[in-house]
Symmetry: C2
Subunit: 344 residues, 2 copies
Amino acid sequence: MNQVNRRITLASRPDGYPTEANFKLVEAPVPSIGPGQVLVQTLYLSLDPYMRGRMNAAKSYAPPVELGATMVGGIVGKVIASEHQKFKVGAIVEGRLGWQDYGVSDGRDLRQVDPAAGPISTAVGVLGMPGLTAYFGLLDVCQPRPGDTVAVSAASGAVGQVVGQIAKLMGCRVVGIAGDPRKIAYITRELAFDAAIDYKTEDLDVALDRACPNGIDAYFDNVGGQVSEAVFRHLAYRPRIAICGQMALYNVEAPEPGARSLRFMLVHRARMEGFLVSDFADRWPEGLKRLSRWVKDGKIKYREDVVEGLENAPKAFLRLMRGENFGKLVVKVADQRPTQGDNS
Amino acid sequence: MNQVNRRITLASRPDGYPTEANFKLVEAPVPSIGPGQVLVQTLYLSLDPYMRGRMNAAKSYAPPVELGATMVGGIVGKVIASEHQKFKVGAIVEGRLGWQDYGVSDGRDLRQVDPAAGPISTAVGVLGMPGLTAYFGLLDVCQPRPGDTVAVSAASGAVGQVVGQIAKLMGCRVVGIAGDPRKIAYITRELAFDAAIDYKTEDLDVALDRACPNGIDAYFDNVGGQVSEAVFRHLAYRPRIAICGQMALYNVEAPEPGARSLRFMLVHRARMEGFLVSDFADRWPEGLKRLSRWVKDGKIKYREDVVEGLENAPKAFLRLMRGENFGKLVVKVADQRPTQGDNS
């Protein structure tokens, strides 16, 4: 076992887009554990948009990362030492142990992952937080009905790709919005979305008119900003809008001016709701069970963007912030199988 | 009976704030009626913010007023000729007969008003559309619970004054936002709101911090714009926001830039919903029954701003657009009791 724990810490708070200088790789001894604790070796680190919010000093729905502290993040790892009854050495677990090689947990935030259910990286993807976010945000917040037109932004991302496929399963017309010809091809050809719009090259109003002739009944919003404002001009009657993320605005240095009026809310009799996946924590087993079944049956496909090496996490995170990832972004931190000489 | 029907028509469409030149008073003969119709003499004309939207060419939730056509509007009037079984001569009715001395109806949009229930002008006020808007918007959209902090904008207006009083009846802490020291004094002293904020003279963030120490659980929004953006910075957990009107933005010449981010929706897990009183048309009898009881019992007070003379309606409407009315704005068009020589 490598005796060094590399941690990526928050070195400074970004103004606008983060840079690599906001992060610092620190080496420390691998921590030891006490009674009731487990030591987990990180195999995959999940990179997600919410992390940008934690880099700010302002309190949001969760406390900020302190300067000098390890960046927060979900990981999939292997238990390599345990004084905890439930988690045995060798078990694969998912938890929120942050951007580091090794983490210690008291087990409360750990979830055992069944390696037979699929590649273990999916425990932070389609069979983890992003998949559950899609599941509850679409089904419980957007409440689509068969025949509805469902629009989703960041449509090829970790959450968006699952949103669109569940909506297709339900008999909805699905329109994905993304910013790259490869992403557009992927969601329409691989995932069978009914239409796709490239917000970087198309006139949004023209494209939405064409793709949503009967208006938009449900909108799953991952990005906010101008894309959403265009969607709001194309709503049907009594649409449901789920606010999941506002990625387009996380890196603006000053509050960005936009269309101020919420008049569309009453003109269309819209309902808009903000949610976090943690709001549905008591129903995660339900969501995971169904998502697993759909993945096994090939009804839900997924695409990962895998980066090698913990040291490359900051650079990969900057790609995520610019929408340059293609699929669920994960960092492969270590091999799942023990390497020679590894005596764990 | 006066043989001339004065109609106030839409002469031109306004850019931004309307002016008197946008209206034109036209004289025409009093219309005659056919089988199944009634002739109604207007006694009170209601002036309401939604009328501004109808002056635009763009289709909204209702069609625009055509150039040269009589301005739309709710009225309370007296049936002075009838070939309709249900409505007898002398009956007091409420309907949407527009800005004119006399209107013809087939009875479908008329509602009989009980003059014993209170001053008949209340049929376009607390016991009419504005009262019902407050009733359903607060109870069904905002869904307040006792102990909730309820904020309402345009708090002394036709809708706002009723919203706040129903919320008080329910055991809520009520915070009214208005733009005049007389209005502030009225809602706190006469209507017993717990706190009031003058958005024209106070720092909204400081005032909201003071008035809503536990955050805002329910917000009934009549105005939108900067006032709402400040309210959104002071939300509690799982707040409900009813979008009833966006008065602050009806008269802007170009889309006004505002804070673009909807991130507050997910940070606070807010639900926002736009509604029209017509969405609850099947439950108006329920609402009117309860509002009437509360008014009779003195539990709901109301304040009217009465202007004399149909010819003064345009000028009064401009006051409404600038928030210079104080209470429900109505135009007294004719006396309720027949004048001498009136042989109706």
